[in-house]
């Protein structure tokens, strides 16, 4: 299987065990440290994004304004109303994509399975584009459920066509790419026949960008995250057992079918809502799990938060690069992640072929 160079031997994990009565938790201190560093990186990206622009605000001022410590330069409006929601959406979308990818890769035991590679994101965007073009009067509130429905439809098709027959990892990817192409063609067709106004909205949205995202986008996104993130953490213990294969998992007492359904729901749900919020920001769900696994190892307790923080860092960083590179012209974050992610995907394919 293709992965970043696995770490053959890790020093005995330094662990802290917390026990109180019947409750016991185990923390791998190295993973905790790495997750903290990754979260700081995401926060730094957020601060940089909020500070950068036509009206620059120094990082110190950004942090002061964020925590509500005075407002010397009167930039509270720029920070809190204009730039913060966009940066927060970038962080949340990245985290959702990272977690979605890490679950899907674990669930399919396939390193190439990311919701954008296997067509789940394309299904979500087709549904969302349909809504934008066909029913332009519909409220933005319906975008989330529509994208979710599209994501689940694509996942269902994928399951029927590729997964159920336990094909090779490449089969899943190839069928997924086919599904993506069909959904993409559908979206293009809708844009071509749609009214120019709606079509241009849909086009910008398709490229995958957090451009112009405001508090209402953030608030319509967060409830889904509040459902799916805790669910992912609750399921991480089961995902670890499932990773040993269906039979071993069953022998360990895991209700495999039920847990697989819940995991799939979580992964597709996170990908679908992320797409509904920011369009198709590609390759994040593929890259973040690999990077996280390389850093904290394959134990899912640490892997899920690490993948969330990695994904957040990637998207918020990509948004910053996209804004800064050719300023004042903005590149969508989705273009930046594709430039990074496509070679990475090719590298994984190459390793998979030779592994």
């Amino acid at each position: 299987m293709a992965r970043l160079a696995p770490i053959a031997s890790r020093p005995k994990a330094r662990e802290a065990t917390l026990r109180a009565g019947p409750v016991s938790l185990r923390l791998n201190l190295r993973s905790v440290l790495i997750i903290c560093v990754l979260s700081l990186a995401a926060f730094a990206g957020l601060v940089a994004n909020v500070g950068y622009g036509e009206y620059p605000v120094s990082p110190v001022e950004v942090v002061r304004t964020l925590v509500g410590l005075g407002d010397d330069g009167g930039h509270a409006f720029v920070v809190n109303s204009l730039r913060l929601p966009r940066a927060l959406v970038a962080v949340a979308v990245g985290a959702a994509l990272g977690v979605s990818g890490v679950i899907l890769q674990g669930l399919t035991r396939n390193d190439l399975a990311a919701p954008d590679i296997v067509g789940i994101n394309a299904g979500a965007s087709l549904a969302a584009v349909s809504l934008i073009v066909v029913a332009p009067a519909a409220s933005i509130v319906y975008l989330q459920p529509a994208a979710l429905a599209g994501a689940f439809l694509a996942a269902g098709l994928l399951y029927l066509l590729a997964w159920r027959r336990k094909g090779s990892p490449l089969r899943l990817v190839l069928v997924g790419i086919g599904l993506s192409a069909v959904a993409g063609a559908g979206a293009t067709l809708l844009i071509a026949v749609g009214e120019i106004e709606q079509a241009s909205v849909a086009l910008v949205w398709l490229a995958g960008s957090v451009y112009g995202r405001g508090w209402d986008d953030f608030y319509s996104f967060t409830p889904w995250l509040l459902v799916f993130f805790p669910l992912a953490l609750l399921l991480s213990r089961h995902l670890a057992a499932m990773n040993l294969g269906d039979n071993v998992a069953r022998a360990l007492g895991l209700p495999v079918e039920k847990v697989r359904g819940l995991l799939l729901l979580t992964s597709v749900g996170l990908a679908g809502t992320a797409v509904a919020t920011a369009g198709t920001i590609g390759f994040v769900a593929l890259m973040a799990p690999h990077i996280a696994r390389h850093l904290v190892g394959p134990a899912y307790g640490g892997l899920i938060p690490a993948a969330a923080a990695t994904g957040a860092t990637i998207v918020v960083g990509a948004d910053f690069v996209g804004r800064a590179l050719f300023a004042p012209v903005e590149l969508p974050a989705g273009i930046v992640t594709a430039v990074l992610g496509a070679p990475f995907f090719l590298y994984l394919l190459y390793r998979n072929r030779n592994g």
Binding site: N247, V248, P298
Partner: protein
């Protein structure tokens, strides 16, 4: 007394019947080996007893209860199962794998109790894998990796272990390593073990009971002396063979020399 038994189980894939009206019993504190030619239903029998497969008719009993009526987690506390050629996640260390054996004893709030810690330390030690506990499984030899999987099943702390071809793909020394470990666990801890084995001589040497399957039925079940006969080898495997007795422990050993029913 038998820990685990089947009562007239039948198993079929679509049209072809794999097990037919099969009743066997695994005595407590003993090692049982299931032998038979390819496709005779050995692994299906083991899978049915492990509740990984559901027989079409008949029932499997564990400690006197029908296994299908027990909660999955309850079964996992009583039966450890090692399927054939399990999937090894890349980068997973021996210790992490063995810790997974505690899964049925854990919950979201009870993730790492003192008894978990003790059971894992003990399993690592008994199987002799503690020396490479923090190495990734995919860097270990086949024998070391198999012992790590057995350690995982031991950390589960079940009275009974079911193993599907635990020695396949291992060289001679590594086969011996795994079988000696099982014999020692049985001797010192009274561990009940049931395994599917291809190597008849190892089965005869290491088990108290042998079950020879042929076309989904029990051809013979009993002590190695009762089961390992030139008749059985002819009828079940289609070979002519001489039987010798191991001068060390008296176990019957076979040496096949010709295929039956073929003139060339």
């Amino acid at each position: 007394m038998s820990k685990l038994s089947t009562e007239r189980i039948t198993f079929a894939y679509e049209d072809s019947t794999v097990l037919e009206d099969l009743s066997v019993a695994m005595p407590e504190g003993r090692i049982t080996s299931i032998i038979g030619p390819n496709g005779c239903g050995k692994s299906t029998l083991l899978g049915s007893m492990a509740r990984l497969l559901k027989p079409r008719t008949g029932s499997v009993h564990l400690d006197g209860e029908v296994i299908a009526n027990l909660a999955t987690r309850e079964v996992a506390k009583r039966l450890g199962v090692l399927p054939q050629g399990p999937h090894v996640p890349e980068g997973l260390t021996t210790r992490e794998l063995v810790s997974q054996g505690r899964y049925p004893h854990q919950s979201f709030l009870r993730q790492w109790s003192r008894s978990d810690e003790r059971a894992v330390a003990r399993a690592l030690e008994i199987t002799g894998v503690d020396g490479f506990a923090d190495r990734a499984l995919d860097t270990l030899s086949g024998g070391q990796r198999q012992r790590a999987w057995i350690a995982m099943a031991l950390a589960q702390q079940t009275d009974t272990l079911l193993l599907d071809e635990p020695t396949t793909y291992l060289d001679m020394a590594h086969q011996l390593e795994v079988l000696e470990l099982l014999a020692r666990l049985n001797r010192e801890e009274g561990q009940t073990a049931v395994m599917v084995l291809h190597d008849l001589n190892s089965a005869a040497r290491y088990s108290h009971q042998m079950i020879a399957l042929c076309e989904g039925r029990v051809y013979a079940a009993g002590s190695p002396h009762e089961v390992m006969t030139s008749h059985m080898l002819g009828d079940v495997f289609g070979v002519k063979a001489d039987i010798f007795y191991d001068p060390r422990n008296g176990s019957p050993q076979c040496l096949p020399y010709e295929l039956l029913g073929r003139t060339s």
